[in-house]
Symmetry: C2
DNA sequence: CTTTAGAATCTAAGCGCATAGACTATAAAC
DNA sequence: GTTTATAGTCTATGCGCTTAGATTCTAAAG
């Protein structure tokens, strides 16, 4: 049984297909009585307009696309959970054990950005098309997605810059969490500058800190950016230069690094961590080392994850407004109405200092 | 500048448009050398196939749809946060304060189901179209969504049953978290039966419980279902009939209800709660009442939220595999390839007993 | 060199809608 | 009664692709 089309509805209502179309798209051009006839016919035939045909005719789809990371299986909810990655078929009960999600990852960066993107799209009356690929067909699936939408937001870009350049000539593209570049796309990132500056200022102004050490996995671009900002601010405030510690999220490695610092009796006033997960790990290690936070040393993070609120002491951090980033992306794309940018553009989502206990304050907002 | 089409590519490559199409869709029908010519031309012209035109020609979109709740603004991440609901324009800093997310809601039901849906779609090479509505245009936006996809999953249905019936005649529809009904759709729910039975059996067999009381907001359909199962099992095991307590997630109300029970000296062996949030609240109240869990009374939940793991004592519960529910939905829809179901169907996602401390065990899985 | 099966390519039609521009009905103005 | 402006409706076309069926090319067999 074929789906009903405008032709069926038109015939049944005794009008032309144009009138059917107008009934939906420009109702005020159709006489009230006619409109009712058409809608009745449509209801009787279970008519649902084909978005494909509409999109083809209008040259616009009314959909914005978001391309997620490939490795979504590394999501903390799916991690190591056989139920997650074996597909649906091996449905036996014994598959259902597995690692429980890692609370230190909530709320997840990607998910929050995605949520903001969705909300803003709906607010604008656009639908959201999500895509990703779990096998190697990344390039193909991005192209496929691009063919379906009026604008595209990407979390990362693994292919050649030429391919992205070509894509960006055809539809508007937003690069999420990349602060700048020279392709004609919209680069969206967080306001790391003001966030990190506010941390340093707070440490100096309120807590009189002088020796500030930065800890992070330095080969992550975002981390490098934050380090540079801290360095500059520390210098501007007339403090001794900020030494970075290059570390990874591994208890043993962190332990050695920090034990070294302690042994040398060079404990700084504050350990500014590149993100909250690092900060929480650092606090774990300091606990093991018998060093009290914030009394012996201040610890701060960046991100604003849930676990930071419930840590002891509660983590002072820079809250990044992930949802805002997503909304910005959707809003920017919707505004273009399918027109690619001609020049590189960039914008930032806000970052805000949240003062809790790990700096020595008692949880007031600043 | 118009987007390139098959015609442009065909002309540039010196072939017909059919050959261009074959190059992408049936590459083995095209000679290697020709294929290369075509792909080169396509690259030079930044050609991206129009999914609209393809969908129109093939009568299939390759997209599955998920319609979320209307009130996504009630999401715990957005709750009360002005940054969330005022739209993007009022971008001043002072907007950024607001309630912090409620940890007791994680991981959120909807999000996990959605995630499963996405993963399974990608696994099947389908894109995912999400939609929702923040104003009153629910009906329209569902129809719009339906016109864009080969299959549709719905969290709930607020409109008339007739409208849903009509929808279900046109494309395959999955109703999430509704166990049965008589429309020709796929009803998907959790295996409450085996989950609740296992709880009761565990309480009886391992902890020798006899007096079991069920607590929940009884006018939620899901809660009613669970209560009935517990009642039946309790009866089957030869225990005294299971009394339900109708309660809401409000500390004061819960306090009064439980204080009453305590005053009457009728504390049961176990309080089986309809879900984890209720269980956590019950444990809060019991603490206030000076009643120890699990020594004085056993408490159990249903859901498997994160907060249950970190509660003291850790919550014994029935873990519902939300992601599985989402995967099931996507898988069922993909299988239909656009063909609506003719008869009502139903399926269940697994539910599994997770034994932790609140029943008196020490965290072993069962 | 001719025949012929099969591979490669092409021609032509149609998918369901939107909309410009043509046409008709209606009503107000003359 | 005629003219004219306007609202209402229709005809006709094109959006970019897929694919059945027609046509042409290729190469092995005779």
């Amino acid at each position: 049984m074929r789906r009903a089309t405008v032709y069926d509805v038109a015939e049944r209502a005794g009008v032309s297909i144009a009138t059917v179309s107008f009934t939906y798209r420009q109702p005020n051009r159709v006489r009230e009585s006619t409109r009712r006839k058409v809608l009745a016919a449509a209801r009787e035939l279970d008519y649902i307009p084909s978005a494909n045909a509409r999109g083809l005719a209008k040259g616009r789809t009314g959909v914005l696309g978001l391309y997620s990371f490939d490795l979504l299986l590394e999501h903390p909810l799916g991690q190591g959970n056989p139920a997650s990655d074996v597909g649906l078929k091996s449905d036996v009960d014994s598959d259902l054990d597995g690692a429980e999600p890692n609370i230190r990852a909530y709320p997840l960066y990607v998910d929050e950005v995605q949520r903001g993107f969705e909300l803003e799209c709906w607010h604008q009356g656009q639908a959201v098309l999500l895509s990703s690929s779990d096998d190697g067909k990344r390039g193909e699936s991005i192209t496929d997605l691009a063919g379906r939408v009026d604008g595209l937001a990407l979390f990362s870009w693994g292919e050649s810059p030429e391919a992205l350049k070509r894509l960006a000539k055809t539809i508007p593209v937003v690069m999420l969490s990349q602060s700048k570049g020279d392709l004609p796309v919209m680069y969206l990132s967080f306001d790391n500058e003001s966030g990190m500056n506010r941390i340093v200022d707070h440490l100096v102004d309120v807590h009189g800190a002088r020796r500030i050490v930065f800890i992070g996995t330095l080969d992550f671009p975002e981390v490098g950016v934050r380090l540079d900002i801290v360095k500059r601010r520390v210098h501007k405030r007339g403090l001794p230069a900020c030494r970075p510690i290059d570390a990874v999220l591994d208890h043993r490695v962190l332990y050695q690094a920090l034990a070294h610092v302690v042994r040398e009796d060079k404990l700084p006033d504050a350990l500014v961590c590149a993100n909250d997960q690092m900060a929480l790990s650092v606090m774990d290690v300091l606990l093991d080392l018998g060093i009290r936070v914030p009394r012996d040393v201040i610890v701060t993070g960046v991100d604003g994850i849930l676990a930071g609120r419930f840590a002891t002491p509660a983590l002072t951090t820079v809250q990044l407004y992930m949802e805002r980033l997503g909304r910005l992306a959707a809003d920017s794309l919707a505004e273009r109405d399918g027109q690619p940018w001609k020049e590189p553009r960039s914008a930032m989502a806000p970052a805000r200092l949240v003062v809790r206990e790990s700096c020595g304050c008692h949880g007031q907002a600043v």
